[in-house]
Amino acid sequence: MLARARLMFRSTAVRLSALYILLFALCAAFLVVYVTAMSERLLAQQTRQTLQEEVQDVQRAYERGGINLLLRMIERRARQPGANLYVIAGPNGEMLAGNVASVQPGVLDEQGWTGFPFSYEPYAEVSRPGRHMAVANVLRLDNGLRVMIGRDLGDPGRFRGIVRRALMVALTIMGIGALVIWFGIGRNALKRIDRMSAASQKIMAGDLSQRLPIGKSGDEFDRLSDSLNAMLGRIEKLNEGLRQVSDNIAHDLKTPLTRLRNKAADALAEGRDDVRRTALEGIIGESDQLIRTFNALLMISRVEAGSIAAEMSEVDLSAISGDSAELYEPVAEEAGLSLTTELQPGLVVQGNRELIGQAIFNLLDNAVKYAAEGKGEKKICVRLSGQNGSFRLSVCDHGPGIPRDKRQEVTKRFVRLDESRSKPGTGLGLSLVEAVMELHGGSLELSATDESDKEAPGLTATMVFPAPKP
């Protein structure tokens, strides 16, 4: 239990709330002290003003009716309940009239406001006996008499006592409340972190399919888990890709290497020059294909690593599509295909012209390759249009197409639908297109050109670019 409490205090949430409480308490205390001081000052000022006014009354009464009127007035006022303190003293300080038994010596010698509290003793019947504190204003008359008008300060500690009690109560409530909230938040946070670290332990153990738990509140923890999960997804995908590549390399490169080796062996054993020459030419062709594959692989991994991103500039998609279509038009024609274009002019994105060019070439290569053998219409098309914040560049054909369930798969490295791998190609074309699109913040979409045509649905490959923000 103690260990747990200690652990809890180490958590950021708890430490933060403790800090908040401390700061809050300090603020509250300061506020209380300040309010107390302010109200005391205000009270004192009010007292002083009241006494000042009363002194003026007394002075006016004396001027109008002499000592008799003054005495009558003092006597009357002194008898009122909760009255102020009144003293009329002779020139030597002897008390002549009033409701006070004695005052601190020296108070009556000064003219005007006493300035500081002094002690006095009231008559027993007026108030409880004992020494009291008061402030007063002393008026000296022309016949040597002195009139003191003062006010009892009451129990000076009483007001402060109330304030102190209020402060204690407030602080206690605050403390208890904070503890409860503290416990709730700290424990909750701790539990969630525990769950997160449990999940990461499993991930570290090699189970990349694990994901961090996400609550419903969408708070910082959820957002953190969310981004970590996205990161895990990416890692898993890369990892998956890597495994796929090594599997496929084993499969795809072993075959040509074996062929290469066999051809070399044949050439070595061959006596006739022309046969040997043919075998050697075959070897060169075989090696070219291998080098091409390696180059494409290297290119894809560099694009995926994003190291080409530095070379981004404005690329005119419309121009590039037009150029590519023009480049492939004779090839298509040679293969008995017609190539049509529908290009919206003036669509410009930030990108790498070489990579986008190569991606379009790959799509056109595929289109020519598959449309020529298909039973469908002998035509391919290049379309470019901009709508709803994205630019869509499509290459379509009416070849055999790709079945819906295989469309995800074909963008993976070395995946070819043609199991026998009899057609030329590296099996990397669409992987490169997808990598290029990811580099440009877009995507590659594959769909059927004509879903209703069962024989030759064809393939429409669309490079979707996000339109640049205006």
């Binding site: 150029d323 090839v331 040679e334």
Partner: protein, 252 residues
């Protein structure tokens, strides 16, 4: 380790033998700065077979020294060299006023490397692995460049004429109509008349893309052009050089 040089013996032989015999390649002297001795030996031998005199330096410092002291028609410089990096050799050469055309070889070989290489003062760039025929064609074009007057307004090969100003093409006085791209294709071929031009070089100079065209796209364009300039005439001008590329030439 060195598997990067694809030495197409068949291609180089026919090409080299022909150029040698016909003395299409003038006496050319080149410097190869390459630290991989096996690759350098291959290159030296193959260049010699093509009638080119080769000096070889195996590190950046000695390459810089030789490049400064002697005069060459072309230099072939590997990017990664011991003692002094290839790009720094090039910029130092340029600083010293050596303006010999330089072809950069690089195992790094991608778009961005090409750009940095050319910025450093290189004239052409070839990523490893490459076919020797490609290297030879590029070296020959670079070596020839010095002598080819860029400002020539009319290119002539046999009875074929190309006017760069009016964009008119005539053969034996008869006008031939070409598409703009076909014109540029022919222009580049004729500018390098008598020299092999590879498919990659055509894609670079006519379409401005710098990668290996993997299919026969270029061939189809060339054969279209060929049919236009040769259809009604007896003598073929545009030849396919097996394993290398194309060459336009008047056999005389």
């Amino acid at each position: 380790m060195e598997t990067s040089i694809r030495y197409s013996r068949q291609g180089a032989e026919s090409h080299g033998a022909k150029t040698d015999a016909d003395a299409i390649v003038p006496h050319m002297k080149i410097l190869v700065i390459e630290d991989d001795l096996e690759a350098a030996a291959y290159m030296t031998k193959a260049f010699r077979e093509a009638g080119i005199v080769v000096d070889h330096a195996s590190d950046g410092e000695s390459g810089l020294f030789m490049g400064t002291e002697n005069s060459y028609d072309v230099m072939v410089i590997d990017r990664m060299l011991p003692r002094r990096d290839g790009l720094s050799v090039i910029s130092e050469l340029r600083k010293r006023g050596v303006n010999t055309p330089v072809l950069i070889l690089s195992a790094l070989g991608q778009v961005d490397d090409r750009v940095t290489g050319l910025r450093a003062g290189g004239d052409d760039y070839l990523p490893k692995p490459y076919a020797f025929s490609e290297l030879l064609a590029r070296v020959e074009v670079l070596g020839r460049r010095k002598g080819t007057p860029e400002q020539d307004m009319v290119y002539r090969v046999g009875d074929l004429e190309l006017d760069r100003l009016s964009h008119e093409v005539r053969r034996a006085g008869k006008e031939i109509l070409l598409q703009p791209r076909e014109f540029r294709l022919l222009e580049y071929l004729m500018k390098n008349a008598g020299q092999v031009v590879t498919r990659t070089m055509l894609l670079e100079h006519v379409w401005d893309y710098h990668f290996d065209p993997q299919t026969n796209v270029i061939d189809v364009h060339v054969s279209r052009l060929r049919s236009k300039i040769e259809k009604d005439f007896d003598k073929p001008l545009l030849k396919t050089i097996r394993g290398a590329g194309y060459m336009i030439k008047d056999e005389g």
